[in-house]
């Protein structure tokens, strides 16, 4: 059997690689760039600022895209093989803003321009040749020169822990970028100025090794084909367990943010799981023992109703009718309706015992909201499981040999009936990561659900990819654990 598990563990990274690959490709194919976001007004409508919004400059999100490696192709990089014909066609399209005789939309024109801007670093000799060609029109030479500048612009190293070599490279990059930026050709430049700027660009080009240095051939081309891609770059970080930082705060790593939220999500996933498990055993047993009697019928109806009521109805109902303006019975303590605990100003002043009570009070309503649905399903499931076990011969035997009724129920029926539920629970480990989006949103608890949901809305790629990765890992581990649980609970199961 150990062979089986070793094989499963060996397959784990392979499966994970496939999952990462699929997720990565899907995420990269989803349309969308960073955008100028609108603001929400005090009353929830949205407006944009009429006095402080800029046009998106050509390289508006360049740093962002470079930082996330979005300027590279997704899986394979064949850009070093771009020919003059390809470039010529693209330049024509960019100049005339037309493709096959049809005018390009603003969106298409912009993405074409961004696309060729990203490719520019692989075709710099061709671009310089175009910019230097005095027989071409001003606008074509201008376009080629500016694409050349875009191709030559590099990103420096960011952060505090830089080596002397990296600092030296940063100085060189800054100098080089400045040299390129001041030669950007604008619409109102004269032809003489254009010539002068292009000759300075040519000097810059020669200074850095000319055509030889900027052309990839043979092995370098093959290396670029496989490794100068978004996926290779991402994977090289993941292998070192570096999942990056949040998009909006580079002080916070994805891992640290997830660790911060783990207590919320674990509490909201594990506690309801345990309580549900115990309660559904009790209810399932009552319903099975009193099959078709009034407790069975009434509990069945109750669970049917609970199962039918959606969570987005129950959660606001709990807030509006149970919590708001009401106190816990026989006390003057108001029932909290938001957060995992009181606000930091109050919570920080409490003793640890008071903090525990405060958190438990805050958890009451979210737990009810999470539990009622699963309880309804699991109780009915365990009823079926118990009914099946109750009909077994060995249960009749246990009764016949005079064992007390409760002992039979707990020791013989309970344990065997629980197998179904336990294996079902083990495979749902992935739920921990998914969180409970609705409950977290309504009760304003900052768990995984909201974290990942907001990451998707904010296009926080690192977080989204991590959530897909961690979700897959936990689910895969969950399946292995479930297989293990089978062998432990039922000795007849063997994987040899």
């Amino acid at each position: 059997m150990s062979h089986y598990f070793v094989r499963r563990l060996f397959l784990l990274p392979v499966t994970l690689f496939a999952i990462i690959l699929v997720n990565f490709v899907i995420l990269n194919l989803v349309p969308g760039d960073p955008v100028n976001m609108a603001d929400r007004s005090n009353t929830g409508d949205i407006t944009r600022n009429a006095d402080s919004e800029g046009n998106m400059e050509e390289n508006h999100h360049l740093q962002f895209r470079e930082h996330y490696g979005l300027t590279l192709p997704i899986l394979f990089n064949n850009w070093p093989s771009i020919t003059y014909e390809n470039l010529n066609e693209a330049l024509e399209q960019l100049l005339t803003k037309q493709k096959s005789g049809k005018e390009l939309s603003v969106q298409d024109y912009h993405s074409l321009r961004t696309h060729w801007g990203d490719r520019a670093r692989y075709i710099m000799p061709l671009l310089l040749q175009e910019a230097e060609n005095q027989s071409l029109s001003f606008s074509r030479r201008q376009l080629a020169a500016n694409l050349f500048i875009r191709g030559g612009t590099q990103m420096g190293y960011v952060g505090p822990t830089l080596s002397a070599k990296q600092k030296q490279q940063n100085r060189e990059i800054a100098r080089s970028n400045h040299q390129l930026a001041k030669n950007r050709v604008s619409d109102w430049d004269s032809v003489e100025l254009l010539d002068q700027k292009v000759s300075e660009l040519a000097f810059w080009f020669r200074e850095r090794g000319g055509v030889e240095a900027f052309t990839k051939k043979g092995g370098l081309k093959a290396k670029a084909f496989l490794f100068e891609t978004r996926f290779a770059r991402y994977l090289s970080r993941v292998v070192l367990l570096d999942f990056g930082t949040l998009r909006n705060d580079s002080n916070k790593t994805v891992i640290s943010e997830v660790a911060k939220r783990i207590k919320y999500s674990l509490t909201l996933a594990v506690i309801p799981m345990l309580i549900t498990f115990c309660l559904c055993q009790v209810f399932g047993m009552i319903m099975a023992v009193k099959q078709n009697g009034w407790p069975d019928v009434s509990l069945n109806i109750l669970f049917l109703v609970l199962f039918a009521v959606p969570i987005f109805v129950v959660a606001p109902f709990l807030i509006e009718k149970i919590a708001l303006h009401h106190t816990f019975p026989f006390t003057k303590i108001p029932i909290p309706y938001s957060g995992f605990h009181s606000s930091s100003a109050i919570y920080d002043k409490l003793t640890s015992g008071q903090r525990l009570m405060d958190t438990l009070r805050h958890l009451l309503l979210p737990l009810i909201a999470i539990m009622y649905g699963t309880l309804a399903i699991q109780a009915r499931l365990s009823r079926t499981a118990f009914l099946e076990v109750l009909r077994q011969d060995w249960v009749r035997t246990a009764h016949a040999k005079g064992l007390p009724f409760l002992t039979v129920l707990i020791k013989h029926v309970g344990r065997n009936g629980a197998i179904t539920i336990v294996t079902a629970l083990a495979t749902s480990l992935g739920v921990i990561l998914g969180g409970s989006l609705i409950v977290e949103t309504v009760f304003e608890i900052n768990g995984f659900g909201r974290f990942f949901y907001e990451a998707i809305l904010n296009r926080d790629y690192n977080v989204v990819l991590f959530s897909a990765f961690a979700g897959s890992l936990i689910t895969l581990v969950g399946y292995i654990v479930a297989d293990l649980a089978y062998t432990i609970l039922d000795p007849r199961v063997s994987f040899s």
Binding site: G156, V158, A181
Partner: protein
């Protein structure tokens, strides 16, 4: 016996584990407290004695303006604000600043970078960082001293017939030290940041350099760059003096600088060199930064600036000091050393981050917030709450709700994409406007909580021409115009069609709106119904904020329902209406509007100094936009600000000539409010 033993064993094992768990947790808490205490002590040690807060408001000292570079020959363009000098002191008397004003924000700011373009973050930055000059309370286009004490217009160095601006900063202005508690617990902050630093002219120059650095890509910097690109030279004379030289333009042979130059000079703010030129370990980002244009050109610094470690704190030197941000909210405390003791009349402000307007409303009802802006569709809910037992109890305990209505400085519109075959004709756009009953929207969908508008300026701005006639609601006329324009029902399916390039095109388009706004949804539904009546199939398309923003930036929508938040005069219509942005991705001219007359007026407004002539130009502008109907102007919403009675001194300047004579601002200013017990 064996069973009993194992039961006890199990129970005691559980109890011991639980006890150990509690002990571990408690020790963690104690350690955290001790760390905080140590940080506080370090801050106290660093700040020394200047931390002591005054017990009551004191009138600011007034000193004669004598300094080496101040030339008494030139008059001060900054005038003292009588409201702060006399009116407010008499209103608040000898009160001590007390209480934390609690407000709520919908959503959480992504970060607090100085060039974050989100309105809430911009507002918070301006609470913590002053500007050269500020508006007088309640008045447009005025300049009162703020971080500068004197602003002089001296003859321009290269063209003496026009002027350059000399700014003389206030002495004893300091950046508060950064607090370690505002950073993640594992973050190491160098001692350099735990000391206070003076606000100097170099900080203003640094701000200008950062804006002008082409590699700084933050949206606010990109937008300011288009304005500041007209600065020819920014010269620092000494730590407290700098000169802003604007480019001289020759209009009809006359040398002129742009009209906006003075206001923009007044709006300059400092960017702390002691933070944004450094790494967290106290080393400089750039080892060699001696050249005067280093920060204006260096791309590596710009990259570090975009991902700066202090991007989630606000270094403060203004009336408020940043006091931390967590998942729940953001806090500010009053700066006891700010030059104007009346700038803030409370101990602090806390903004709670809320997910939705409903969450804000629940919190306000529970008494956790001091104020709340009510949405039109919540009026009935307010009414029923005011009748409830809970509210009666609150009112008896000094928690009565007061309210004040005012017009929000924004307008909502339907933008027609002029590049589509449907809306490229002004006549069709006029017909669309005539087919929609805007009064009905205000009456039925907004509970009268809005006013109708006819143009792109704020209703109470001098630029808005009240004489401009509204397009009447007239579906019959709309039908007639559509028929004249060739839109007729050719196939009898109830939808108008037109032959375009030999193809029959039905008048069927998509109207995008913000799906999470209740009022937007009902208004969009009403518009679709109205247009259906004149034979147009308007399919409504609810989108979340990111996708709606994308449609706007990419100009891929047919029609869009959105709002513009407006600034205070002087209005600058260039951003939305100039043809330069008509075909640019991400430009505010999302509908692709281009009109030579409008462009000409925008250019004239650049240089026209006379208020009367400017007003004439704005009114012409208004009339042309109304006639061209690129937007259907729907309404300007009224806001009902609800506040608990402990918040005092809430008033609308425009309605209180007794406090501020000739005031023109129609919104309450929360910075002059205070809290009573």
């Amino acid at each position: 016996m064996r069973k009993q033993f194992s039961l006890w064993k199990g129970l005691s094992l559980f109890a011991t584990t639980a006890l150990l768990g509690m002990v571990w947790w408690s020790s963690q808490l104690v350690e955290k407290e001790l760390k905080l205490l140590r940080t506080d002590l370090e801050e106290l040690k660093n700040e020394g004695l200047y931390r002591a807060a005054p017990v009551a408001f004191q009138a600011p000292e007034t000193k004669p303006l004598t300094r080496p570079h101040i030339d008494p020959k030139y008059p001060n363009l900054l005038e003292e604000d009588p409201f702060y000098a006399h009116t407010l002191p008499s209103l608040v008397g000898n009160r001590t600043p007390k209480g934390i004003r609690k407000e709520a924000l919908i959503g959480r700011p992504e970060h607090l970078h100085p060039f974050n373009n989100f309105r809430d973050v911009s507002n918070m930055t301006s609470m913590c960082v002053g500007t050269v000059a500020q508006l007088k309370v309640g008045k447009y286009e005025t300049m009162a001293p703020d971080l500068a004490i004197k602003l002089e217009a001296r003859p321009h160095k290269s063209e003496p017939t026009t002027v350059e601006y000399w700014v003389h900063l206030r002495e004893n202005l300091f950046w508060a030290p950064l607090s370690k508690s505002h950073f993640p617990s594992n973050f190491e902050l160098a001692p350099h940041f735990a000391k206070r630093h003076s606000v100097t002219a170099h900080d203003f120059k640094f701000y200008y350099d950062a804006v002008m650095n082409p590699s700084v890509c933050e949206p606010k910097a990109a937008s300011l760059r288009s304005y500041f690109s007209d600065i020819e030279e920014f010269e620092v004379i000494d730590d407290l003096t700098f000169v802003v030289r604007w480019k001289v333009h020759y209009e009809d042979g006359e040398a002129k600088i742009k009209y906006s130059a003075l206001n923009l000079t007044g709006s300059l703010q400092p960017l702390p060199c002691f933070v944004f030129q450094y790494l967290a370990d106290g080393a400089k980002i750039l080892d060699e930064d001696g050249a005067s244009d280093t920060y204006r050109t260096n791309s590596v610094w710009a990259q570090n600036f975009a991902h700066h470690w202090a991007k989630n704190v606000i270094p403060s030197c203004g009336p408020y000091l940043f006091d931390g941000m967590d998942e729940e909210g953001i806090s500010f405390k009053r700066n006891p050393h700010f030059y104007n003791p009346y700038a803030v009349l409370v101990e602090g402000v806390h903004f709670a981050f809320k997910e939705s307007f409903d969450a804000v409303w629940q919190d306000f009802k529970a008494g956790n917030l001091d104020l709340c802006h009510l949405a039109p569709n919540q009026l009935l809910e307010l009414e029923s709450f005011l009748k409830s037992r809970e509210y009666r109890l609150q009112a008896e305990n000094g928690m009565k709700i007061e309210s004040i209505d005012y017009l929000d400085r924004c307008f909502y519109y339907l933008g027609w994409n002029l590049s589509t075959d449907f809306f490229n004709s002004a006549r069709v756009r006029q017909a669309m406007t005539m087919a929609i009953d805007r009064e009905r929207i205000i009456h039925q969908n907004l509970n009268e909580m809005a006013v109708s508008i006819t143009g792109p300026f704020f209703r109470f701005s001098p630029s808005y021409d009240p004489q401009v006639n509204e397009w009447p609601y007239n579906p019959l006329e709309a039908r007639r115009i559509l028929e004249q324009e060739g839109w007729m029902d050719l196939d009898g399916d109830g939808i108008r069609d037109r032959m375009i390039n030999g193809k029959k095109v039905p008048f069927r388009f998509r109207l995008c709106y913000f799906v999470k706004s209740l009022s937007a949804k009902v208004i969009a539904e009403y518009i679709a119904t109205s247009l259906k009546e004149i034979g147009i199939d308007c399919q409504i398309y609810g989108l979340d904020i990111t996708d709606l923003s994308r449609q706007f930036d990419d100009k891929t929508f047919d029609a869009i329902f959105m709002g513009w938040k407006l600034g205070t005069p002087p209005d600058d219509p260039r951003q939305i209406w100039h043809s330069a942005g008509a075909k640019e991705k991400g430009s505010s001219n999302a509908i692709g509007f281009a009109n030579p007359k409008i462009d000409a007026i925008i250019e004239s407004l650049n240089y026209e100094p006379s208020p009367a002539d400017r007003k004439k130009l704005y009114h012409q502008f208004h009339q042309i936009i109304r006639d061209e109907a690129p937007y259907t102007f729907l309404y300007t919403p009224k806001v009902r600000l609800l506040y608990r009675e402990r918040l005092k001194n809430v008033f609308i300047p425009r309605d209180r000539p007794d406090l501020i004579p000739a005031a023109d601002i129609p919104e309450p200013n929360l910075e002059v409010t205070y809290l009573e017990s």
